[in-house]
Each structure stands twice: as structure tokens, then as C-alpha cells.
Amino acid sequence: MLLEVKNLTKNFAGLAAVSNVSLQVREGEILAIVGPNGAGKTVLFGLISGLLRPTRGQIYLQGEEITGWKPHRIACQGIARTFQTTALFDQLRVVDNLAIGYRQRTTGGFWSTLLHTRRWEEDKDRTTAKVMEILSFIGLAEKAFHFVSTLSQAEQKRLSIGVALISQPKMILLDEPTGGLILEDTDEITSLIRKIHETAGITVCLIEHKMRMVMDLAQRMIVLNFGSVIAEGTPGEISNNPDVIEAYLGGESIA
């Protein structure tokens, strides 16, 4: 068991965005978190990644409690994430974004930077190598030195996944990685996610609305509604669950 969440609750000015949620993420699996809009999925990610402080509850990563930790500390422990609205360093170039993603894996600090020590050289070489590796993995090698603002939506989404990937995390949280993309680009991202899962063995936890894609990709699903878990199981079980069908009535269809 990689990640465990116990009785997690988050209140915003009286409204419970996430209410008494308990779940587990198993190592090496692809887990999908689904639910209607406003169900609390992104808030849940925010709590796990440390961006939000839980009102109640605990979060454990590989047995160690990480509740209330700062985001950068949790990221260094091995949880990487992407954001619903594509978050990148848009004043910088593609390679810069990736290099920043790898920063946590370099050890050099102020003095090694100032004096250009051997450690600095090694950090630089390792970073360059890793950036090149990820660039070809996500298929953006040609756009390496382009500024992020010149990339298409799909390319930006791929880059943000690359930035999450480059830090060699134990688990990646993908928040609507295909949000706003057409079918062709969606399939591209889906195969990228599968590639990540297969080659690197990284645990993937994703939020998605596109049901067909989720059913195809996910090994296990958790359904949230109004901040609580209403169902859990394999895609097959979920699509036949009456509570789930009712929650989605009037929203997306499962077929």
C-alpha cells in the first residue's frame, strides 16, 4: 500500500468539500478518481499533495504520516502532480521547465553553484541527461528550446506530465490530463500514461471525466460525490453500480 488516506475532511467556510474520505492507493496500480463536477476530486488531490491543509483526518505515504506537510516536502518524498488548468513556468522554455522539475534530485546548493565545484558539474550533467531522456519520452524533443507559450494545448499537457515525471516520483497525481483535448490528443495522452505505468512502474492516480478513457485505462476506480466516497471497485463493477448511475444521471453517461 503506497498511500493511505483516513477520514479526510476539508471544510471551506462551512462547506465540506471533502467529507470523511478514506481510501488506499496500492503500489503500481492505475487508480481513477471520478465523480460529477464539484465532487471534491481536485480538493482531494490538493490535500494529498500538501497544497491544502486538512480540517480533519490523516494521510500516510508508505506508512509515514505526511498530514500537514508542506507541498515541496511531499513532492520530495515522491508524490508528483499535474493541475487541472495546465500549470507550467510560462516565462521559460521547455527544457527549463523540465530542469526545474528535476531540481529536487540535485544536491548542489549555494556554494557549489558559486564556485562551480565538481558537484555542480555533476548536477548539470545529470540534469541535462535526464531532461533529454524525458524530452524524447514525452515526444517534445523538437520543441526543446521553445518557450512554453508557443506550445499547443496538447503539448503543454504532455510537458506538465513530463515535469511531474522527471523527478522520478513514486506516485503521480494527474488532474484531468486530457481536459479540453480532442480525441486524437486524448488518445496520445492515454498511451503516454500507459507508457509511464509500464516502463517506470510508477503508481498513477488520475482524475478524469472522459469515461471511455477511464474504463480503458484504470485498474480500479473510486467514485466521489458531494465530497464523499460513494463507490469503489473495478471499472466493470462501477459501471453497474446503481448509486453511481444515479449520481451521474443528468451528467455524463457511462456507456
Partner: protein, 335 residues
């Protein structure tokens, strides 16, 4: 990198360096020379402000305050008999330390809060400098600050700093040192880290960068150099007062950085030289100059936020891209 390759790529900067070294032979007017010396000093101040403001994206309005700490430190220590060469690093370290202590509470808060807090802190320094009469002499300031002690060079003898040329080489040396250090910090993973904090602090945290540590480091280093510039200023000018640490100074450097080109290494230097020169030429306009600068500040930040050198690099990049695109098209058409 071999010397020849280095020269070919950086010939422009090599030329500038030679010009800078030969400057005392070219300038005869004492007044002009003084402007150049001040330009070098303010370049150090502007470069260091650029580190925290331009690269890390935190608006420190206390920069003149730390300049003041360096200035008063050197002034008081050297008047008590300490060698300039010991007083200077001590005062700079003091500025850095105070920066650390101030940074701890203020950098945890949101951007606007930091700007206001540092502005207030800068004013505190001015008020303290003006009222702690036993230590600082109050609003009359400190006069009679000795010049830097002569350095002994084997074979040459004692090198004093009475001449403008010697003073110029002193500030030039420190400017080059500052430039080198800034270059190393900025063109590195650490520098990318700073820019990440500036661009999207939340995202930077999510990818594992300790943004608070980064901001503190950037702030402390910036203040060290502010103090350094202040210390040299005190010794060369000979008199300082609370006005040395005034908010107006910070605003001046802000203009240098902004107009010259934020987040570039050449921009602040260009600004620190060009703008005072323009100010000199516009002397006849007296106070109206400042109104022009206020207007310029607004116009530049809205329409030319990347300043002179920033816009220049964008232009360079566009030309390069256009060139590469043309070549790519030719190849596609041919192949």
C-alpha cells in the same frame, strides 16, 4: 572552452572590458569621471536588487536600507580606526544578517505584504539613522569617513586611493566581482529555481522546490551586495546621512532595473549608467525630471515590461527564430 572560441563568442564583452580598463586614459573631466564611478556603484546596487526583484520576483523596497547599513557600518568602523578592508566585509555581512532576520517573517507572507513590510523596514532604518544620535550623528550624518586604506603590492609599493583612477579601478573590480557572482547564480539550476519562484510559486513548491529557502537566499545575497555597495560609497564619498538609506534611493534603483531590463544581467548596468547621465543632461528641467521618470515608470511597466535590454533580447530571439524558420522552410522546400 578554448581561448579562441571564447574570444569569438564573447568578443563584444572582451572589447567592453578593455574599454573599461582603459577608461581613465580617455576621461579627463573630473565631473564625468565621478559620474562613471557612481554609475559603477549604483550598478552593484541595481544588480543586487535585480536578483531579488527581477529573478526571484519579490519586490524588496528596503534595498536602500541595506545599502545604508553597509554605509554606516563602514563609516563608523573606519572612523574608529578599523581598516577599510575589514570593515567592508563585516558591514556587508551585517547587511546580509539583518536581511536574513527581516526576511524570515516577511517572506512567508504574500507578495504585496513583502513589498509593504520591506518598505516599512527601509523607513525604520532611515528613522533610526536619523534619531540614534549617539551612534549615527542623527540627521547631520557622518562626515570625514576615511578613504580605503592603501594596499601593498609587492614590487609596486603602496597603492593609495586618493586619485579618481584608483577609486575607479576599485569600484570596477567590485562590479566585475558582483557580475561574476550574479552570473554564476543566475545561469544555474539555482537561478532556474529563482525564476520558477517568480513565475509560479505554487507550482515551484509542487515540484519540490523549497520556495521559502530560495526567497531567503536570494534576499540575503542581494542585501549583502547592497551593503557592499553602501560601504564602498561611504568610503569614497566621505560623508553619509540618513538620506543615503532613503526610500527614494530604492525607487531610483528600481527605475534603473526596470528601464534597463529586468531579469537580465546587462539591464541594471545599462540603467545605472544611462539614466543618471540623462538626469544630468536634463538638469535644466529641475524637478520636472522626476515627473518624467514617474510617467516613464508607468509607461514602461505597462508597455515595455522587459525594459531596454529585455526587449533587446526578445528582438534577438525573434530574429534568430525567423532565421531558423526560413532555413527550415528552405530545407522543406528543397528536400
Amino acid at each position: 572552452m578554448t581561448w579562441i572560441k571564447f574570444l569569438r563568442e564573447k568578443w563584444f564583452y572582451a572589447l567592453l572590458l578593455i574599454l573599461a580598463l582603459l577608461l581613465p586614459l580617455l576621461i579627463t573631466n573630473r565631473y564625468h569621471f565621478q559620474i562613471v564611478i557612481m554609475g559603477c556603484l549604483f550598478s552593484i546596487a541595481a544588480l543586487s536588487l535585480n536578483l531579488i526583484l527581477g529573478y526571484t520576483g519579490q519586490a524588496s523596497m528596503a534595498h536602500a536600507g541595506f545599502f545604508g547599513i553597509g554605509a554606516y557600518g563602514v563609516a563608523l568602523l573606519t572612523k574608529e580606526g578599523m581598516s577599510f578592508w575589514l570593515a567592508l566585509p563585516l558591514s556587508s555581512l551585517l547587511a546580509a544578517l539583518v536581511g536574513f532576520l527581516i526576511g524570515l517573517p516577511t517572506l512567508r507572507a504574500r507578495g504585496s505584504y513583502f513589498a509593504i513590510s520591506t518598505m516599512c523596514f527601509g523607513v525604520i532604518i532611515s528613522i533610526v539613522a536619523g534619531n540614534w544620535i549617539e551612534l549615527t550623528g542623527g540627521y547631520n550624518g557622518v562626515v570625514g569617513i576615511p578613504l580605503p586604506n592603501p594596499i601593498f603590492l609587492p614590487g609596486v609599493g603602496d597603492l593609495g586611493f586618493q586619485t579618481q583612477a584608483a577609486q575607479y579601478y576599485l569600484v570596477l573590480a567590485f562590479l566585475l566581482l558582483t557580475l561574476l557572482i550574479m552570473h554564476r547564480l543566475v545561469y544555474s539550476l539555482m537561478g532556474l529555481g529563482f525564476m520558477a519562484i517568480r513565475n509560479n510559486e505554487v507550482l515551484a513548491g509542487s515540484v519540490g522546490i523549497n520556495t521559502f529557502a530560495g526567497k531567503i537566499l536570494s534576499f540575503v545575497v542581494a542585501n549583502f551586495f547592497a551593503g557592499l555597495a553602501g560601504g564602498i560609497y561611504a568610503s569614497l564619498i566621505g560623508t553619509i546621512s540618513p538620506a543615503t538609506a532613503a526610500l527614494e534611493q530604492t525607487f531610483g534603483w528600481l527605475i534603473f532595473v526596470l528601464l534597463g531590463g529586468i531579469a537580465t544581467l546587462t539591464g541594471p548596468i545599462v540603467g545605472a549608467f544611462v539614466i543618471p547621465v540623462i538626469m544630468e543632461y536634463l538638469q535644466f528641467l529641475t524637478e520636472y525630471r522626476l515627473i518624467i521618470f514617474g510617467v516613464l515608470l508607468i509607461v514602461v511597466i505597462i508597455y515595455f515590461p522587459r525594459g531596454l535590454m529585455g526587449g533587446f533580447t526578445t528582438l534577438q530571439q525573434r530574429v534568430k527564430d525567423l532565421y531558423a524558420q526560413r532555413r527550415g522552410e528552405k530545407r522543406a522546400a528543397g528536400g
